[in-house]
Amino acid sequence: MTIRPIPILSTLSRRLAGVEAIAAGLLAAAVAGLILLNVATRTAGAALFWVDELAIYAMVWMGFLGMSITIQRRSGVSVTILTDALPPRLHRAAALLVDGIILAFSVFLLWLCWRWYDPLTLASVSYSVDAFVGETFNFIYREPTQTIGVAKYWVWLIVPLTAAAMTVHALANLLEALRSPHAAQVP
């Protein structure tokens, strides 16, 4: 039996992007719904104080999910005048290099998030936030949200999640591009 990691990874990347797109769409609907709720409750004289902050977090999560999709589809805004003028071989090399750089950045961002959340130290102090702060001077688990009554690190979780998803997409894109004989970059 042979295991073929590249098709599995590509499928994973595509499925993941599909899930991300659905979640991002739901969050977009949530943003619209929450702002309308805010207008309605304020007009009725019973404004809800937590709606604006929740709407902003919905928008930020939508944005981060969308960023990951942008990586998967290679649809970010870029300057292509120079690479378009290159002969096919060099064009392909430039595209591969960019795929590699995106992968490196995604891994680096994931590593920064790992250091930020520092789960091993947190586990080593038996999940005591006080001991964690004393050990690391890292206040991540102390930060509150303004109005929604949830610790901020839950909201910030979208950054490591996006970094992980971006790593999957970037790796799949790079491996697919390496395997295909044609230029990798879709214009």
Partner: protein, 421 residues
Amino acid sequence: MTVAGVFIVLLFLAAPIALVLGITAVTHILASGDLVLFESYPQQLFSGLEKYGLLAIPLFMLVGELMNEGGVTTRLIRAARVFVGAYRGGLAYVNLLANMMMASIVGSAAAQIAVMSRVMTPEMTRQGYSPAFAAATTAAGGLLSPIIPPSMLFVIYGVLAQIPIGDMFMAGILPGLLLAFGFMCAIAFVGWRIGFPEGEAIKGKAARQALLQAAPSALVPAIIIGGILGGIATPTESAALAALSAAGLGLFVYRDLKLSALPRLFRETAITSSVVLFLIAAANVFGWIILHEQIPQNVAAWLNGLTQNPFVFLLLVNILLLGVGAMLDGIAAMIIVVPILLPIAQTSYGIDPFHFGVVISINLVLGLLTPPVGAGLYIAAAASNVKPGEIFRALSPFLIATLIALIILSWQPVIVTALIR
């Protein structure tokens, strides 16, 4: 120097600009040895988006998606034809008028050019206009979109400059009308040179029907402009209300919008907004470089040696940005340029931030229609089967009109500030 090198190499390698900004910031941190910044790097990306004003971006995108899907565009164009359809060259003016109405609904030039090119260019060609001129008129009309409120570019500028977005929208109204007037002159000039086909008037019952059908569509811009003008709603809230009314129109009045299409529209809204949000998040870490390297101070010192005059300064900025806008996407260019140039404009030259914002917005959207990177030009070309080069030649009267409007606006800030409370 290494940092600038990394920025330029990555940019021209066609890496996504958002990542170019993010990676340049990483290089800066490594080069400066200020490694403690890495601890807040992920958080800084997050906080770049944590702003109330940015909520307007997905909401205005949603309004645009709903209007396109709901069949509002075609009804607006029919109504515009009632007003100016009968004159010689009427359809060219109809195109402009319809673009002005669309501009008060849609917030993005590229989106507007894509929609209007599909509708207006074939219609003008059918009536005997040259396809290149038809495509050029439509593409130029799209430039009104980011100036006449609502405007995605103004939302982003308002967030970057930390000024009220509602006031920024007000600031765009008179300059938008000035630009539209300039385009009318350009059309009249072309008509005088080469002659236009007769217009086909819509009369009597058909005219009344066209106006009646389009009347409910006026609700959407009325909510957006009225809500902001009256101070009843924030731009974000007006956008949400506009989206609600657009959905209502499409679902119940025109019945072109299907409930089953909504999930797709929300997904597309999310993904297209994210392209912009990605840039804004990355700009927040890129901002460290601008701050630490004291780029505004250095550029200001250099510019102060050249001129003390605000008008001359704005002309220099215009020349610089025409170059930048020809290379970079307008929103990306704005995100990079505003943190550098706005402090200089305000502190060294006493320029009003609204005035500065309107001038650079018009300048940067012009880049949509100029090669080598003009996305609007390629969208118009693809939608109308005319070569980009031909459209660009037919665009020249419009580009000259825009340049004249830019000079007038740089010279007279009152056109921008008159409507702001």
